[in-house]
């Protein structure tokens, strides 16, 4: 069940889709023109609510509902685009921005109209340097052609979009850390409430949405909520760009209806596991979700926001990392823990110290020195000490591969205790 058509990765079907003339010839900016000229901001919020669109950055929160939390009658308001795509295994926003930039920018404009904002910032991770320069050129072109600027389409709606580059910090993908960073400070999360819809950028009501979320808006406004709901599942409508990576024959982005089973993505689309190996585990949301044992039942599980929790994980940003049976899951936990230890912003003690100690314990399991018999249990205890004690989800994410790894692949961890002096980093390419 491949997607009947691309809604987000339309550039794969239409050549030169990153050129404004091509985008316009394909009906681009008709949704914005018709919306701004003929609908109220409240109409747009209601349509997006009715569409059931859920935030594609990871949380899966209903987008229209998020917008409706904006504090009434307080201006100026801001739209901030979360383009800080940094979750290991996630590279979908990058493809949208590189190859379908105008659909994103039209989506930003639709969001700004709904939010009654006249300034939008695209917070792009610093590594996307070349991509950001291209986006700026596209924005300048839109301005020159009258799609951005003052009094658009002869109405009182005005909009400027600016690109702001981050400088290498995973934490800035968390929306309040992103806002701190955009204000020129350390990217450390804020205590909530207040949420950004009440006090966001510069203390003003702010909508923060992910790139993929916003790219969904032009087709929804053009074709309607009912059409959108005909794709995907009842509670997770629409398509999703799944980033597929790891031990798989054809890694890449695949746009499929939400609710598509893992098996379809990994085997039919992704070509299965190379080298005659078998699938062992799946990380369905990059490093930030419990690791799944790749049983037949799990492979048949629909990839949507509500089905993944039922099998003990989360959809998150839908970055599917496939692990084959040659890989030691305790090494996977070491890799994800190193990542989170490096990226912890240092604000909350349980996360800052906990990720340090988890890394230390995992390295001891792997460095060939004699490991104490109780070391895996100690690791589990340290992880439990972080749980539920941090301001933002980073601390929570950091323990998920560790605790689920120990619970579901205990033998991989215990092997390092049983054979303490053998170096067991026998992993692909090592």
């Amino acid at each position: 069940m491949a997607a009947a058509e691309h809604i987000l990765l339309r550039h794969r079907d239409i050549p030169d889709f990153d050129r404004l003339d091509t985008y316009l010839a394909q009906g681009g900016f008709a949704a914005l023109r018709n919306t701004v000229s003929g609908k109220s901001p409240q109409d747009v919020i209601e349509i997006v609510k009715a569409s059931g669109l859920r935030g594609r950055g990871g949380a899966g929160f209903p987008t229209g509902v998020k917008w409706s939390f904006l504090t009434p009658d307080v201006y100026p308001r801001y739209v901030v685009v979360n383009a800080d795509e940094s979750e290991p295994g996630t590279f979908k926003d990058r493809e949208i921005m590189e190859h379908n930039p105008f659909q994103l920018l039209e989506g930003v404009a639709l969001c700004a109209f709904a939010a009654r904002a006249s300034t939008a910032y695209i917070y792009c991770r610093g590594e996307f340097w070349d991509l950001a320069a291209a986006l700026e050129a596209h924005i300048a072109e839109l301005r020159a052609r009258g799609f951005l600027g003052q009094n658009l389409f002869g109405t009182d709606f005005s909009l400027e979009i600016f690109v702001h580059l981050g400088a290498g910090a995973y934490i800035c993908g968390e929306e309040t850390a992103l806002l701190e960073s955009l204000e020129g400070k350390l990217g450390q999360p804020r205590l909530r409430p207040p949420f950004p819809a009440a006090k966001g950028l510069y203390g003003q009501p702010t909508v923060v949405n992910n790139v993929e979320t916003l790219a969904n808006l032009p087709p929804i406004l053009e074709r309607g909520a009912e059409w959108y709901r005909s794709i995907g599942t009842k509670d997770s409508p629409g398509t999703k760009v799944f980033s597929l990576s790891g031990n798989v024959a054809r890694p890449g982005n695949y746009e499929l209806p939400l609710g598509t089973p893992f098996r379809t993505l990994i085997f039919d689309q992704g070509g299965g596991i190379p080298g005659g190996k078998k699938i062992k585990a799946i990380l369905p949301a990059g490093a930030s979700a419990p690791i799944l044992v790749a049983t037949e039942d799990v492979l048949d599980t629909p990839m949507d926001y509500d089905s993944l929790p039922k099998v003990g994980s989360m959809l998150g940003s839908a970055s599917i990392i496939v692990i084959d049976d040659s890989v030691d899951i305790s090494w996977v936990a070491l890799k994800t823990t190193r990542f989170f230890k490096h990226e912890s912003c240092g604000k909350c003690t349980p996360c800052r110290e906990g990720t340090y100690w988890m890394q230390h314990l995992l390295e001891r399991l792997h460095d060939g020195t004699p490991a104490d018999a109780g070391q895996v249990d100690l690791l589990q205890a340290v992880a439990r000490g972080i749980e539920g004690k941090c301001l933002c989800p980073l601390g929570e994410f950091s323990i998920m591969p560790v605790t689920s790894g120990i619970e579901r692949f205990r033998a991989d961890f215990a092997a390092h205790e049983a054979h303490p002096v053998r170096r067991t980093e026998a992993v692909n390419g090592r």
Binding site: E183, S245, N253, I321
Partner: protein, 175 residues
Amino acid sequence: MTAPDVRLGALREKYAAEIDAILARYPDDQRRSAVMPLLYLAQHQYGYLSPAALQEVATILGLSSTQVGSLVGFYTLYHDRPAGKVRMQICTDLPCALRGAEAFAQSVCQNLGIRLGETTADGLITVEEVTCLAGCDRAPMFQVQDGTGIHYRESQTVESAMAWTEEVRRTYGRS
């Protein structure tokens, strides 16, 4: 808000138009938002962010050099000490590692006669390990941070990476 007293440093002189364009992106009373783009500008001008460079950025924005300096340690793309002309930053995070990135990084270092984090003897290339760059489907891959910005090189082999290091030597080596 009155504009802060701006000392006309080298940065201000050389990049006057760029600095004005950067400041124009943010509200007049929120100039601090411009600190990250200005740090990139200073890094390009000086190669790294020395205390003097931080002071220059701080002066333009009316901030203290401590407020500016704290960012340098927090964000990985800012550097407070000089290194090679180019930084070769190899992703060895989980998805890339599953596709051989750790062995790739080791081979590249071996060929260059250095260890991760070190700079080649000619002072041209510093090799560093970095976390996920959103290029997981084209591993092994690395980014190049140099005086012109940050550029990706994907779907690499040890051979293609070494050919690139030769290119770097040709570009910078004879200057």
